[in-house]
């Protein structure tokens, strides 16, 4: 999943383009650009039990939140303007969170304490898989309705999925369906290839959606929580204009939407609370204002007057209110783990930098100084150590001695390592954005530390836009900080959404992390991905350790966090660790 188009890395004053996601072979993955993150829920962060991943037996309605009041208007102000709000292309943190209010999906995440678990939403369970794992069936709950009262049919869900194949008309969405679904590479969506597609079939009488796969997709239940697995009535589809007015199936419907400036949601009376285990319907109106200056918004919310008492923002904790957020106004901040892990530009090309040198880089890497120079605060990150995120079910957090995930780095030790390897003055070259204050600061820190450690550093300053292109250029003549260089945000909490998109040998050069070309590793990853979901976590943990030790492709810096600040009359703001942003349907005002 991509971070909110641009998550305001508040403190840095820089906006970090976030990113994640992407599939193993198509290379659509994106990277986050400046590295943003958020505050941990204490211990809960590191001890999410494996069993919390999926709960196929949960029924609606969602349990009442103690003390929650109905009514009122909730106002979101954000600097970030959502990309397309078309359900078929939704791939950003902010749009995902907003659309959870209006659009029900086959499965959905729901917050249970600090944990985020996958529960059935429109479907009766998390999908029934055939013996060979190549066919999945989802059955719709009875009597589901759109906001205009017409019933939701299985074929509407199938239509919505088929629409997501129309990547030419509706670009920018996830592409897993193209990789995994049967004939996914041939089908070009209902407008080009017609309505009949062997990968997705629907039986309206029984309310069953059948998905036929080209290869096993054990984590399809998670993928089914993307809004492309919602329902779109074919008759009302306005193609590329559908994003301006979409049919609602969730607790709220669109009253008015002006792209780029505001969105007003009101209660959807045809939403059936009893069938929905993941959503609530507390405020009467939910107002979104986009393109609002982050610092102004933050100051207003902290000042807590009038309408700002019922306002909130998902732009993070702006530097302008940092002192307040750390002190007197601590209660107006919600912070929690996000689905992103940061390595702050430490990806090393394993084909260009010898192993001993990579180890020396890891020993010298100035993690704490980078955080400080980038202006990252405890609202943005907590100490790291692994490639995967610790809240992935079954994953056990660990710290290898050579990857502490925090600290100042040891240039003296690195220099000794370089000397021992006879590689003193090894040249490290990388691109940095020279039109971004935070990136410039980070670069100064890196140059100082790496030079001290006996490297020759060649830092190439380019503009932000140019850098985004250069780090993906397969032929770029540099050896550090290429590919998915800042960090990775998983699309769903399981290793197949983390490791293959980063380390598969079929990835084009500089599209993953480290350019590892190892067929044995490919096979190992494929084997783990084909195990039942519940068994995968432990295996991914072992693989994580192995990749770090054997290849040293990057230096894990931190686990990211998501943070929101809100007025004193906004309640129950909890960060969903699988989304890195608040769970909007559980928020109430009063």
């Amino acid at each position: 999943m991509r971070w909110t188009t641009v998550v305001a890395l508040a403190t840095a004053g820089t906006l970090s383009l976030a990113a994640c996601g992407g599939s193993g072979s198509s290379g659509t993955n994106s990277n986050n650009d400046a590295g943003a993150s958020n505050t941990a829920l204490g211990d809960a962060y590191e001890k999410v039990p494996a069993s919390a991943g999926q709960r196929p037996d949960v029924k609606g309605p969602a349990p009442e939140i103690a003390g929650a009041k109905k009514g009122g208007t909730l106002t979101f102000n954000s600097d970030v303007t959502p990309e397309s709000t078309d359900p078929s292309t939704q791939y950003y943190q902010d749009t995902a969170a907003i659309m959870k209010l209006t659009t029900r999906t086959l499965t959905a995440y729901r917050m249970e304490g600090g944990k985020s678990v996958l529960v059935p939403d429109m479907a009766t369970d998390l999908g029934q898989k055939s013996k060979d794992g190549l066919q999945w069936k989802f059955t719709l709950k009875p009597n589901l309705k759109y906001d205009d009262g017409t019933p939701i049919k299985a074929s509407d869900v199938a239509y919505s999925i088929k629409r997501s194949f129309a990547t030419e008309e509706l670009p920018g969405g996830p592409t897993f369906q193209i990789d995994y679904f049967k004939d996914g590479d041939k089908y070009k969506g209902p407008w080009k290839s017609g309505d009949t597609y062997s990968g997705v079939e629907a039986d309206d009488a029984k309310g069953v959606i059948t998905i036929n796969l080209a290869r096993k997709f054990e984590t399809l239940s998670y993928f089914a929580s993307f809004t492309m697995f919602g329902a779109i009535p074919k008759a009302k589809d306005t193609k590329t204009n559908y994003q301006l007015k979409w049919a609602a199936t969730g607790p709220y419907k669109v009253q008015s939407y002006t792209k780029g400036s505001s969105l007003t949601l009101v209660k959807n009376t045809n939403w059936d609370a009893a069938s929905d285990p993941a959503r609530h319907q507390y405020p009467d109106t939910i107002q979104f204002n986009f393109g609002k200056d982050a610092a102004t918004t933050a100051k207003a919310i902290m000042a807590d007057n009038g309408i700002d008492q019922t306002s909130l923002t998902y732009d993070g904790v702006n530097a302008a209110v940092l002192q307040q957020a750390l002190g007197a106004k601590r209660k107006q901040v919600a912070s929690g783990p996000s689905n992103c892990v940061n390595w702050n530009g430490s990806t090393m090309d394993v084909n260009k930098i010898p192993l001993e040198v990579r180890k020396a880089v890891a020993a010298a890497w100035p993690i704490d100084q980078i955080h400080q120079a980038a202006g990252e605060t405890p609202f943005d990150y907590s100490p790291g150590g692994t490639i995967g995120a610790p809240q992935v079910p079954g994953f056990t957090k660990f710290n290898l001695p050579e990857f502490p995930g925090k600290g100042q780095g040891d240039p003296a030790k690195a220099k000794a390592m370089l000397q021992a390897a006879g590689k003193l003055n090894f040249e490290l070259s990388y691109y940095y954005s020279n039109d971004d204050e935070a990136a410039k600061n980070v670069n100064k820190v890196k140059v100082a530390q790496l030079t001290k450690a006996g490297f020759k550093v060649k830092a190439i300053g380019v503009s932000k836009t140019e850098r985004r292109k250069k780090v993906r250029d397969p032929k770029a003549p540099v050896n550090l900080g290429q590919g998915v260089n800042t960090g990775w945000c998983y699309d769903w909490p399981q290793g197949d959404s983390i490791y293959p998109p980063l380390f598969n040998s079929t990835l084009p050069n500089n599209s993953g992390a480290g350019n590892i070309r190892d067929k044995a590793l490919d096979k190992e990853m494929a084997d783990i991905a084909n195990l039942p979901v519940a068994e995968q976590g432990a295996k991914w943990t072992a693989l994580d350790k192995k990749i770090l030790q054997k290849y040293v492709p990057l230096v894990p810096n931190a686990y990211s966090k998501g943070s929101m600040i809100f007025g004193s009359k906004v309640h129950n703001v909890v960060i969903d660790p699988n989304q890195g942003i608040g769970d909007f349907p559980s928020i109430w005002v009063g």
Binding site: A320, K458, V478
Partner: protein, 335 residues
């Protein structure tokens, strides 16, 4: 009375002085009169001191920073990693505070930041005057085709949007003259030198037309005056007419223009650097410091205040001084 340098203006000035005052003055050159007037102008003298102070800061920057004991290194330990800010605004070690997050000393950046402001201001305005006056003289005196061509170029350049062109030209020049290697690497020092030169060129390119137009107008009226006509009818070569008859009479407008251009350029340099198209590290400039300090204005005001006050004070002093010079050179002025 011989028709020497600046005689015409002297006669006018003398006539003016003579009317109210009883004691007629001996013949003085307009420059002498102007200097005399300036000397009596308290504001002008005060401005001179301010300007002199900043010029000294710029020249003595290395001495000043060594007296203050500051350097250009990172001092990460000086700031609180949680908030990214130093716990002090100013102390003995860092009189003007340190930058947030990296802890770089701000006194160092302020002292060295005075240099580009003054160098850009003076170099760019001097160049502008040279180009502008030459073109203005040519167009005005020669007339005909030359005038048409120059006037056309002037109009063309004046019609270009300055800010847009400035933002566009810098990266192009960097690519063209930076000699980047295959990876696009340009050495840091080289890049900032190019930026410096490009900045000056851009300022000159977009300002000389204004000067040229003004000078052309002056020349058009001067060339019909009797003393020019006389010089010509006596068979004086064109070069001599221009150098000996016209130029001296243009001294006034030229000096006035120069004193207006310098502060304008300093302000523009700060503005462009603020926007990120001007100077960049490792060349420090006040505009850059201001743009970085803005974010922390609430919690760490000294960062933005010092360069803002400095640039404002310098520009104000230069402008007031320019006014004083203009007044001193203008024979019509009465105070």
């Amino acid at each position: 009375m011989s028709l020497g340098a600046g005689t015409e203006a002297t006669m006018v000035a003398d006539a003016d002085e003579r009317a109210p005052g009883p004691a007629p003055r001996e013949g003085k050159s307009p420059t002498q009169i102007a200097l005399e007037r300036l000397r009596k102008d308290k504001v002008a003298i005060a401005c001179l001191f301010v300007i002199g102070f900043f010029v000294l800061v710029a020249i003595l920057a290395p001495v000043l920073v060594s007296i203050a004991g500051v350097d250009d290194q990172l001092h990460l330990d000086q700031v609180n990693p949680l908030t990214g800010l130093a716990s002090f605004q100013s102390n003995a070690d860092h009189p003007f505070g340190v930058k947030a997050r990296t802890g770089e000393d701000l006194f160092y950046q302020w002292a060295y930041g005075a240099r580009p402001s003054l160098v850009v201001g003076i170099a760019a305005s001097a160049l502008t005057m040279v180009v502008g006056v030459t073109m203005g003289l040519l167009a005005g005196f020669l007339g005909g085709v030359v005038d048409t061509v120059v006037s056309w170029i002037v109009d063309f350049l004046l019609s270009l949007p300055f800010l847009l062109m400035a933002i566009g030209i810098v990266p192009i020049a960097l690519q063209r003259f930076g000699n980047p290697d295959s990876s696009g690497f340009i050495e840091e020092g080289r890049e900032s030198t190019i930026r410096f030169i490009v900045l000056i060129c851009v300022l000159v390119l977009f300002t000389w037309p204004t000067v040229a137009r003004l000078i052309r107008g002056e020349v058009l009226s001067l060339r019909e005056r009797e003393f020019v006509q006389a010089a010509r009818s006596l068979g004086m070569p064109t070069k001599r007419v221009v150098m000996r008859e016209l130029l001296p009479n243009l001294t006034g407008p030229m000096i006035v223009n120069l004193t207006i251009l310098i502060p304008a350029f300093i302000a523009t340099e700060a503005g462009l650097s603020f926007l990120g198209v001007g100077l960049k590290d490792p060349t420090y400039s006040w505009g850059q410091t201001i743009s970085q300090g803005v974010t922390f204005f609430d919690s760490y005001p000294i960062w933005m205040w010092i360069p803002t006050i400095s640039v404002s004070l310098l520009v104000l002093a230069l402008s007031l001084f320019g006014d004083a010079v203009s007044d001193a050179f203008n024979p019509q002025t009465r105070r």
